[in-house]
């Protein structure tokens, strides 16, 4: 994981902070992703859109888990708050999609700020438990506050603006947004500030004695991570046009964490790989059996026992072994 910090500085020619090779890889990946709708069916384009959205959520969780060493089980709730606000603002308050989108992200960031204020003092398992409990509060409120949230029945609303109604157009819009926020997250974790998070992950006491205010850094990290989860949630509102308590439930957080881990903790872009793997698995399994929950659980157990570094992490380790 230390490679993240040491690799880039050696290269001299850079573009927007990326080396020539990174620019080329990014361009190819985005070009291939953009060409996908030309060969996929509408249903598959929908799946690809979902993968992009959940990839962004998984990456936002990875900012904390991979770079600050704090695994959050409350990000599904932050994500879902954004979804709720976007659907409510368009369907109930009659605001424009753009305004609702911004409001959703702002609301998610606000929730993350509150979570962060309470959570930064804890670490390890306690951080996990606290974020889980905070997420449950959000879930409880969404479930019980029936007048606003529609309770168990949820809320429906046509969130997408006219020009994004078709599957392909929406996919391209999500791809553009996902590329943009992925780049932003990548810059964030490699910024001097991002490196202080890495320092906190590796040794909190050392960072403290170097004069860094650990709590403030973690708090800012949490808020930024929440902002990106909010972007994913707002995109999900447009994707789904519907929101219910299950969007903010623990299962949502768990799936986000699972995708992040399946891709590889601390690999950031692994989020998309993990999201693709889990969503693909869900679709394949669901066509054969109704026991998706069980398969998800077994997948979780197997990943924890055999490949805790995730798909990208394991591939990296294999490549390294070959190079030697």
């Amino acid at each position: 994981m230390t490679t993240i910090a040491t690799q880039p500085a050696l290269q001299s020619r850079t573009f927007a902070g990326m080396t020539g090779r990174a620019v080329a890889v990014a361009a190819i990946v985005i070009a291939v992703a953009a060409a996908l709708p030309l060969v996929l069916s509408n249903y598959q384009v929908g799946l690809a859109t979902e993968i992009l959205i959940f990839g962004v959520l998984a990456m936002s969780i990875d900012i904390l888990a991979g770079f600050a060493g704090r695994t959050s089980l409350g990000h599904g709730a932050i994500f879902g708050v954004s979804t709720y606000v976007v659907v409510y603002a368009t369907a109930q308050a009659g605001l424009s999609p753009a305004t609702s989108f911004a409001l959703g992200i702002a609301a998610a960031t606000l929730v993350a700020v509150v979570f962060g204020l309470l959570a930064v003092r804890t670490s390890g398992v306690y951080f996990l438990l606290l974020t889980l409990a905070l997420g449950m509060i959000v879930w409880g409120i969404c479930l019980r506050w029936t007048q606003v949230t529609g309770g168990e029945n949820g809320m429906r609303g046509d969130v997408r603006p006219e020009w994004l109604v078709s599957h392909r157009a929406f996919y391209w819009a999500v791809l553009a947004a996902a590329s943009l926020v992925s780049y932003a997250m990548w810059r964030f974790v490699r910024s001097p500030f991002g490196l202080t998070l890495l320092g906190i992950r590796d040794s909190e006491s050392r960072m403290r004695s170097l004069g860094y205010n650990v709590s403030v850094h973690l708090f800012v990290g949490f808020a930024v991570s929440g902002f990106f989860a909010g972007v994913a949630g707002a995109l999900y509102a447009m994707f789904n046009n519907f929101v219910s308590p299950s969007t903010v439930a623990l299962a949502q957080s768990v799936e986000g964490v699972l995708m992040m881990i399946a891709g590889g903790v601390g690999t950031l872009f692994g989020g998309f790989v993990g999201a693709a793997a889990i969503i693909a698995l869900e679709n394949v399994v669901s066509s054969y059996t109704e026991r998706w929950q069980m398969v998800l659980g077994i997948t979780f157990i197997l990943i924890m026992i055999f490949t805790p570094e995730g798909i990208i992490g394991t591939l990296r380790a294999m490549l390294k072994r070959k190079e030697r």
Partner: protein
């Protein structure tokens, strides 16, 4: 809050105590946050229900639930968790995966309907206490909670096993260094904690009923109890259960829409200022 509601809060607290004491034993000694504890509770309830209806005996249902859940706990601890020992995060997430599997398995076996464990004849109806007419069974739950507390207190403070468990909570390495097979103590504790979840399932199944999402609800309440009380502290679980049980009843009566907030709001604030809970000690 009137006397009736106070009793509701107390009996719910008693149930929470039985479930959460198992959770805190495992958390305190093995450092495992077993997120499958809720699923063990629900599974125990279902098994207890099946045994109790087939045999017509509530006691046999309780014994069956405890034995079966201890067996499942054995599989979880020895079959799965042993591969991720020493890594807290992987243990937590693995137990969460196990919970998903157990829940789905319960759905396959018992379906999505809600069940209520049949209450034995002696405990049906109600009786007059402190000027209110109150269901006998819920009083029985309250008594059971107190009995379990006394039993665990005796076990922890007056037996060799209890002394080992207490010593292990403080410093497991030292205990091992002094020649005790701490692994065996760990295993016994894990089985005991699981069995308590099973017993809780049967008790709760008779007045809260058993249905597919009951595990998540009881798990979240147990988490709140343990977070408030502090890791591995029996007194902490007792105080935490009382607080959560009473706050829950108060919340449901006064702010039904914000009932969750009434419990978790204070808990979140407490944790922010006392990260180890009221009675928790630093590791």
């Amino acid at each position: 809050m009137n006397t009736f509601q106070l009793f509701n809060g107390l009996t719910f607290a008693a149930l929470l105590f039985v479930v959460a004491s198992g959770f805190t034993l495992i958390f305190g000694l093995l450092r495992i946050v077993n997120l499958a504890h809720g699923a063990l509770y629900l599974f125990g309830g279902y098994i207890g229900y099946t045994v109790a209806t087939r045999t017509g005996s509530f006691v046999l249902g309780g014994i069956g639930a405890m034995l079966a859940i201890a067996a499942i706990g054995f599989v979880l601890d020895q079959g799965l968790l042993r591969f991720v020992r020493g890594n807290e995060l992987r243990q937590v997430l693995l137990s969460l995966g196990f919970a998903f599997v157990l829940n789905d398995l319960a759905l396959v076996i018992w379906g999505g309907d809600s069940f209520t464990v049949p209450i034995p004849q002696v405990l049906r109806g109600g009786m007059r206490v402190f000027g209110v007419f109150y269901p006998t069974y819920r009083l029985f739950v309250l008594v059971t909670g107190i009995v379990v507390f006394a039993g665990l207190w005796g076990l922890l403070n007056h037996t060799r096993l209890g002394a080992l468990i207490r010593a292990g909570v403080d410093d497991a390495e030292m205990v091992e260094a002094s020649g005790v097979n701490i692994r065996r103590v760990f295993l016994v504790t894990f089985l005991l904690g699981s069995a308590l979840a099973g017993l809780g399932g049967l008790m709760g199944g008779a007045f809260l009923s058993l249905y597919p999402s009951a595990d998540a609800e009881i798990l979240v309440f147990s988490l709140a109890v343990v977070i408030i009380g502090g890791r591995g502290s029996l007194v902490g679980v007792g105080v935490g259960s009382l607080l959560v049980g009473l706050l829950n009843t108060l919340g449901q009566v006064m702010f039904p829409e914000l009932a969750y907030f009434v419990i978790f709001g204070p808990m979140a604030v407490l944790l922010a200022f006392r990260p180890l809970g009221l009675f928790g000690k630093a590791a």
